[in-house]
Amino acid sequence: MAETHHDNRPLSPHLQVFRPLITMVMSIAHRITGAALYFGTILVAWWLMAAASGPEQFAIVDGFFGSLFGRLILFGYTWALVHHMLGGIRHFFWDMGAGFELSTANRVAWATIIGSVMLTILIWIIGYLAR
């Protein structure tokens, strides 16, 4: 297993020689947003621990999330969440054997990125209206 990585056999063409395709970019984005959400859990834990600790600690966290930088992070977090969710729903259809036609896969990939941006903005509009 590990030994096979040391020899000099030719490798099949890899990512860098292909023109980026939308399905491929969305696949990479699914993994990157997943990894980002993984570390974003720190923010959720921080917020909940502060809420459980008392008003002083909560004010610090609330101040951070209310700042421009904090909101920028939360906006990115929202997009990662929505994008990963839409990408995941796409995977459910693939798991059921549907949507593998090239034109469908391309259309759904575009719908994922456009839909995730639109839904994120919608969530933030609702958020600001609800204040």
Binding site: M1, A2, R31, G34
Partner: protein
């Protein structure tokens, strides 16, 4: 299945847990859809509220259960997801083992903090 006696001794090769991971990743993913939507709804409704008001919302039974559910489901999901990433990119056995251990510990730490905080708030500590 091809498996040499040496591979068997070293414990390399399939651990026969792949299907379980595959199914669990999809089950938690499916559960995450409504749970995350509810989570977003809860966050929108408590944003900008005072500490007392946020605690009051988080301690109501339905909200507390949804929050516990989303934490548990998301953390199981993200642990499996990160394991896949580690196994895809890290090939040295030693470093891979360390990364997989760190992944489990990170997931456990996040889960413990969130669950402890939610229970403390819910039971009024």
């Amino acid at each position: 299945m091809m498996r040499t006696p040496l591979g068997q001794v070293r414990g390399l090769g399939s651990a026969k847990e792949g299907t379980g991971h595959f199914v669990r990743q999809r089950l938690t993913g499916l559960a995450n859809v409504p749970l995350i939507l509810a989570f977003i709804f809860i966050l929108i409704s408590v944003q900008g509220e005072s500490h007392a008001s946020v605690v009051a919302t988080l301690s109501s039974p339905l909200v507390a259960m949804i929050m516990l559910g989303v934490i548990l489901s998301a953390i199981i999901h993200m642990r499996i997801g990160m394991q896949v990433i580690i196994e895809d990119y890290i090939h040295g056995e030693g470093l891979k083992f360390l990364c997989l251990a760190a992944n489990t510990m990170f997931a456990a730490a996040m889960g413990l903090m969130c669950v402890f905080a939610l229970l403390k708030i819910a039971f009024g500590g």
